[in-house]
Subunit: 236 residues, 2 copies
């Protein structure tokens, strides 16, 4: 982790903070091996980046004098739609998305999404937030992405997506598309990526009708996690 | 997995094969739910792609009539150098690299590589091969990447790297580089990616002297796995 991200509750006032989170405490003391007087890189969730100087370490808290005066990096103008991945991959994906600077993520159903995936505790908001914070701490950003869940494919695509993709170039990654994926596309984007096994034809047709262009990433089939990073590298 | 990759030992003759590998058997019977007469997608390690029709299923083997007459996809003209990552990430990275079509991987030491990483059983050739095969089965390819281990940074960079990077554009991903990473670079490449925490200045300088250009991926710091996919998406 390249940053300690403070929760608003951690602020004592605008120039003092206390860290109580066990994971962050462990990182500061055991990985950074920081001690009294040391400076560490900080950020405030949905606030600025900056630094803190450790003034107290006791059994419960680490207290810091803080200075948060640096704006977080620019967010990507990119909305991501993912067919809900298997729970184990979901956690890593949430981190990756936060690291890369995506701020709007829609997790949706699709024919090849196993029903059991919707039952995972990893979809609880606090567990989602934990993963997003890890991703922001890796990427050195403070702005929390919004994650939206859509349990039904068709009503979501027909009733909500047209609004979401307005004024963006909307593409869906599809191994059998004729058109290659564009590169270095410097305009607002919406990217849709299907489940393992891909979207079925009906789903591609519906997304196409809604305004999505199917594009190919070549003839290698990637895991969803690989495809997300690969696409963002290619497009940005 | 989008392909069953046969080992040369699995061939009975050029038109018959038997599958004995437990993981592949489980995939065919429980995931694909294939039965007698069904056709499945096959490839031969370092050989062609094609298909097989199941003729026998017994307690030990699955026998197939096979036809392997399709060339594997073009490999990337890209050599990848990675500071040895932590063992858990190494396994996934090997899969990702194979999926993306990299055929030459050098795992090397660096100042911020923990010494214990070199002790992991995941560096045994048979375990490396297992991960590479999983990656090829995901990416629908047959050509096994070569993985080279370099326990000492300086002799490797000074004595072996100049030969390896000959006739390629050699770049090293470095958060503090001035030059942005190029995009859609259609020439042979060598890409170096440092450990968590990055290469130290001495290492960047040595790579630079050897012919590597430090390039930046922007001000977000990515995990190694994310950086590999992101870079390949950007450059290809």
């Amino acid at each position: 982790m390249n940053l300690i991200l403070l929760h608003p509750d951690d602020l004592l006032n605008e120039s003092r903070a206390k860290i109580t989170n066990a994971r962050q405490r462990q990182h500061i003391l055991n990985i950074l091996k920081a001690t009294l007087g040391d400076e560490i890189k900080l950020g405030l969730i949905n606030g600025n980046l900056g630094k803190g100087i450790i003034t107290t370490i006791n059994d419960e808290n680490i207290l810091l004098d803080i200075q948060l005066n640096q704006a977080p990096p620019t967010s990507l103008e990119c909305t991501l739609l993912l067919a809900l991945p298997r729970p184990k991959m979901l956690r890593r994906l949430l981190q990756t998305i936060a690291t890369l600077g995506i701020k709007e993520l829609h997790l949706m159903n699709a024919y090849r999404v196993e029903k059991s995936y919707w039952q995972t505790p990893f979809l609880q908001q606090d567990i989602i937030d934990e993963q997003l914070i890890l991703g922001l701490e890796q990427g050195v950003d403070t702005l929390m992405p919004s994650v939206h869940l859509h349990h039904l494919f068709k009503p979501f695509v027909q009733d909500e997506l047209p609004q979401i993709i307005q004024n963006t170039y909307a593409i869906v990654a599809h191994p059998y598309a004729d058109q290659p994926c564009p590169a270095q596309y410097q305009q607002p984007l919406t990217i849709a990526i299907g489940p393992e096994g891909g979207f079925i034809d009906y789903e591609i047709d519906l997304l196409n009708t809604c305004g999505f262009t199917p594009v190919s990433l070549g003839n290698r089939i990637m895991r969803v996690e690989t495809a997300v990073s690969y696409l963002l590298g290619r497009l940005s």
